[in-house]
């Protein structure tokens, strides 16, 4: 197992130690050790079925929604293992937000899409504060100008790219520390993809971002660190190599990584 954790600069947002994920008896991911840096963009890449999405979802216990799933090992967040018994997964998800592969706005108005998360999480501000929060979130998600005149229209009336940016606005409105993105641009056209990538660069200033992507150009362009996963003989995913993005794409340590980034398999 050749893996390298990148240089020690910056603090760690998430540390996964010996993380294995199971669906029933089937082990989907085995023995992953991965440290996510704060205020950086970390890309998880790899061929289909290598478990990169499973790892991502393990970071905010999203896999708990699947009744048969469970995880072994540790995921440290602020030094505590989120899989400890006394940890409330709702709190973890409140602090580690998630953007999904397919845009999934609520069948509510654009305004309510953004405000709902704040409401249920006990947002204490006045109506004006809420208006400001919605505006700021939409501005940060670079969609304000497009929707400011139709905040009361359904979120579903927007185009795919706009919907995804609305989902990002919704996520940042609850002020998480980390945003997990599961192939956020895979269902979008190239122009929308580009806008999302620019947006991710902007968000880096305030948030730690972990992004799963199929698109190697995207990983190379947009991320600071890259982790490459592969599927082993036992069909369980494992981490092959983790390093600065530049290093992964110019001088990969593992031969598999090189074969993958040059397009010879996957």
């Amino acid at each position: 197992m050749s893996e390298t954790n990148p240089s020690k600069k910056g603090r760690l947002a998430i540390e996964a130690h010996n993380l294995s994920c199971y669906y029933g008896d089937f082990r989907a991911v085995k023995n992953v050790d991965l440290d996510i840096k704060e205020h950086a963009i970390t890309a998880l890449i790899g061929p289909s079925g290598c478990g990169k999405s499973t790892v991502l979802r393990a970071f905010n216990r999203m896999n708990d929604l699947i009744p048969v799933a469970h995880a072994e090992g540790e995921v440290l967040f602020h030094g505590a293992n989120i899989y400890e018994k006394n940890v409330d997964p709702v709190e973890i998800r409140r602090r580690i937000g998630m953007v999904f592969q397919k845009p999934n706005p609520f069948p509510k108005s654009i305004y309510d899409n953004v405000a709902w998360g704040a409401k249920i999480n006990g947002f204490k501000g006045s109506k004006q504060d809420m208006d400001q929060l919605v505006e700021e979130s939409l501005r940060d998600a670079a969609i304000w100008d497009e929707v400011k005149d139709k905040l009361d229209q359904s979120g579903l009336s927007l185009s795919g790219g706009q919907q995804q940016r609305l989902c990002i606005a919704r996520t940042i409105a609850v002020k998480p520390e980390i945003i997990l993105m599961d192939e956020p641009a895979s269902a979008l056209d190239p122009i929308s993809t580009l806008r999302i990538e620019e947006l991710i660069q902007e968000l880096k200033r305030n948030y730690t971002i972990v992004i799963v992507t199929h698109n190697m150009q995207q990983a190379a362009r947009a991320s600071d660190y890259t982790a490459f996963f592969n599927m082993g003989e036992d069909r369980a995913g494992y981490l092959v190599e983790y390093n600065d993005t530049e290093a992964i794409f110019t001088s990969p340590a593992a031969e598999l990584t090189e074969q993958y980034i040059t397009g010879r398999f996957g």
């Binding site: 929604l65 009744p67 048969v68 602090r95 999904f100 069948p107 249920i120 999480n121 359904s154 919704r170």
Partner: protein, 748 residues
């Protein structure tokens, strides 16, 4: 990576050759397509069968609910109304009765400047110098207006015969022609003879019937044989006088004239049983009578002989009245005391009313034409009380009064002492405490106990349309005193009347209210329980656990359990075991005088609620399953708890589906009969359910009960009740669908 063996195999076998090519490919494709065509026809036929079955069902129900009936009444409503109005006229103040002596009447009025009266128009004509006829509603009683029928209080006089009879019996044709040539007899009797113009219009029909070009001068002495005339009592004196004249002129045969009333005359004529040749009539033949005659091979011909008219008159000394409105005329002959009461500009002198006796034909006719087309509905409450109390036995009236009084401050039939004694008892009858009866109540009571319409026979819609003549003839033969009419068993009265043992006046109000109560309670039980159970099973229960699997399987099976079993469950649990609760005894609300025990609206509603529960659960489960997982993820990803996710996203998105399931449940519940019969739907109650602890019946239970009765007419009202049930079902579903669409729109 290159596998030599594989390349070798590939060269040997080209799989492209394994598919049919060119012509074969076309044939293969069209073969596949024609197999599809076959299924198209199968599906089309299946749809047609379904549509035909539905249409047949509808046609059958409609066929039962409308059609001809032969109806007989003990006392016609018209008579009750006329009798009441006659009393108003005879009981007015200052009445001078002059009996049948018209001359005395005329002289009395002529001498009295404040007198008023009415009599036959012909008689007025003789006394034109001393009397002054009133215009009613701006129409003066001129000969022209009377003959055209414009003046209120006129009616046409006819004789009817048929061409077939005129051909067969020359003496009848001769008498008819003679009749029309000697219409001065009509004037002699006191009616208006038909004028030349009206006669000329009838010439053609007579020529045709007699097969001649012009009316021959009849010599009665040339004819012999018998002539039989029957019909209206009004025309009777004319025909009698005409017959005498005919005989005086030498007719050798016998002429028999009977007064049986117009309807009786037509009935006897058309059945042909009594050998009637001519019918006297004081109204037009109605279509049913006409068709009955045609069915018997007799085409009726109508001959107008004149007009009967009654005029209202005042003395010629009276200089202030010339024209009165219809309302003024009513008041003038009934309630008003002075002329000023009728019209303020007239003198405040008492009106003297010179009228014939109550049983005279003139009185009857005048009242009928003045209070034209009044029904029980138009009469005041006190009039209905009078009509009721004077037409039933005193015992019945007392019983009715103890049940519920007519007036709060006065007793009509019961003696105050007896009533007070009854009220002093431990269990006082309703009359002591309850409000008085209403106008509607009394109308129904009068209909049921006095008018007593009885349908002697009813026919379905289809024969009523296509075999009208045969039915009309059959009815005229079998029920000479009955009136044949087209009846819609489904009517507003049917919907608003309570159950009754007489199908003619029975209604479904009790059953509709019972159905609504039961459905309401059933949904109140099934909807929240069902949705809650579905949420538990879908969102919380672990499907891998054996226990939850057993529950799920059971629910699926419960939806298919025969409904009678729910009835037995309801009987055992709700009616028997939980009787203290379902009878209301625990809450101290047992309804006085009922014997419902546990057989109440509540028991039925709970039973049907349980019956509907599995359907609601399954529908709600499907709806919850259909909520996209991405929505749950989005919500959970924002830090929402499970309950927040369910309440804010799962339920709102599942609601349309859940409501669809609820609509299905409602449709099922409203149509259930078997479990309700077991639980104890009352087969015969007339009181509306007022609380969950009332006895009840429902529409399907009512239909079931009616269809088991031997009388045909119950089948008619059963059909009408089914239509009401269908309409109720559609209305409830429409409301639920509206609600569902409303929700769908809100969350889209």
């Amino acid at each position: 990576m290159i596998d030599d063996q594989y390349v070798q195999r590939k060269v040997e076998k080209d799989f492209a050759d394994f598919y049919p090519a060119n012509e074969d490919m076309h044939a293969q494709i069209s073969g596949r397509r024609s197999r599809g065509k076959l299924f198209f026809w199968v599906f089309l036929v299946a749809t047609m069968v379904a549509i035909i079955a539905l249409l047949t069902l509808l046609v059958t129900i409609i066929n039962q609910s409308f059609g001809l009936v032969a109806e007989q009444v003990v006392v016609p409503e018209e008579t009750l109304v006329t009798d009441f109005n006659k009393t108003r006229v005879t009981n007015a103040t200052n009445v001078v009765e002059s009996g049948e002596d018209d001359q005395a009447l005329a002289e009395g009025i002529a001498a009295d400047p404040y007198g008023a009266g009415f009599f036959g128009h012909a008689f007025y004509t003789e006394n034109q110098e001393t009397l002054h006829a009133l215009s009613i509603g701006g129409v003066a009683p001129t000969e022209e207006n009377v003959l055209s029928g414009q003046y209120p209080g006129t009616r046409p006089l006819f004789i009817y015969s048929a061409a077939e009879i005129l051909e067969e019996k020359p003496q009848v044709a001769a008498f008819l022609a003679y009749y029309l040539q000697n219409l001065e007899v009509v004037s002699e009797i006191g009616y208006f003879a038909a004028d030349e113009e009206a006669l000329a219009q009838q010439q053609e029909a007579i020529f045709e019937a007699l097969g001649v070009d012009e009316l021959p001068q009849i010599n009665p002495a040339d004819y012999e044989g018998d002539i039989s005339v029957s019909g209206s009592s009004t025309v009777f004196p004319v025909t009698t006088a005409m017959a005498e004249k005919f005989k005086e002129d030498g007719f050798k045969g016998e002429i028999q004239v009977e007064s049986t009333g117009t309807g009786g005359g037509f009935s006897a004529f058309c059945t042909g049983s009594e050998g009637i040749d001519i019918v006297d009539a004081s109204r037009h033949v109605d279509t049913i009578e006409f068709e009955a005659c045609r069915g018997a091979g007799l085409d009726l011909n109508e001959y107008l002989i004149g007009q009967d008219a009654v005029v209202a008159v005042v003395s010629s000394q009276n200089d202030f009245v010339t024209d009165v409105s219809r309302e003024d005329a009513e008041s003038l002959f009934t309630d008003a005391v002075t002329w000023a009461d009728v019209n303020e500009s007239w003198p405040a002198e008492n009106i003297t009313r010179h009228i014939p006796t109550a049983d005279s034909g003139t009185m009857d006719f005048f009242v009928r034409s003045l209070f034209d087309e009044q029904t029980l509905l138009d009469l005041p409450y006190y009039a209905l009380v009078d009509i009721y109390s004077s037409n039933v036995t005193i015992g019945r009236c007392r019983a009715v009064e103890r049940e519920k009084r007519f007036y709060l401050d006065q007793l009509v039939c019961d003696s105050p002492e007896a009533f007070a004694t009854a009220c002093a008892g431990d269990n006082p009858p309703g009359g002591c405490t309850e409000e008085t009866r209403t106008h509607d109540d009394l109308e129904l009571m009068i209909a049921a106990e006095i008018i007593q319409p009885t349908v002697l026979e009813s026919w379905f819609l289809y024969p009523s349309i296509f075999n009208r003549q045969e039915i009309a003839l059959e009815a005229a033969t079998k029920y000479p005193n009955a009136h044949l009419k087209f009846k819609s068993w489904l009517s507003w009265d049917f919907i608003t009347s309570p159950q009754s043992s007489q199908p003619e006046i029975a209604g479904v109000r009790t059953a509709i209210l019972g159905s609504l109560w039961v459905v309401f309670i059933a949904i109140l039980v099934a909807f929240p329980l069902g949705v809650a159970a579905a949420l538990y099973l879908e969102e919380y229960a672990d499907p891998r656990k054996r226990f939850n699997q057993v529950i799920q399987t059971n629910i699926n099976n419960l939806a298919g359990v025969p409904s009678i079993i729910y009835g037995m469950l309801g009987l055992a649990v709700f009616v028997r075991f939980l009787e203290p609760i379902t009878s209301g005894a625990l809450f101290g609300t047992v309804e006085a005088g009922t014997t419902a025990n546990g057989r109440t609206v509540l028991s039925a509603g709970l039973t049907l609620g349980l019956l509907g529960l599995p359907i609601v659960i399954i529908a709600a489960q499907e709806a919850i399953k259909a909520v996209p997982p991405s929505l749950r993820e989005a919500s959970m990803g924002l830090g929402a708890t499970k309950w927040q996710t369910i309440w804010n996203h799962v339920l709102p998105n599942a609601i349309p589906g859940i409501l669809t399931g609820t609509i299905l449940t409602m449709s099922r519940v409203i149509g259930e009969t078997a479990p309700l019969v077991v639980v104890g739907a009352s087969t015969f109650i007339t009181s509306d359910p007022t609380s969950p602890f009332s006895k009840f019946t429902t529409l399907p239970a009512q239909v079931y009960q009616w269809t088991t009765r031997p009388q045909d007419t119950f089948r008619n009202i059963a059909g009408a009740a089914i239509i009401v049930l269908l309409i109720l079902l559609l209305a409830l579903n429409a409301a639920a669908i509206y609600l569902r669409n409303h929700f769908s729109k809100r969350f889209a």
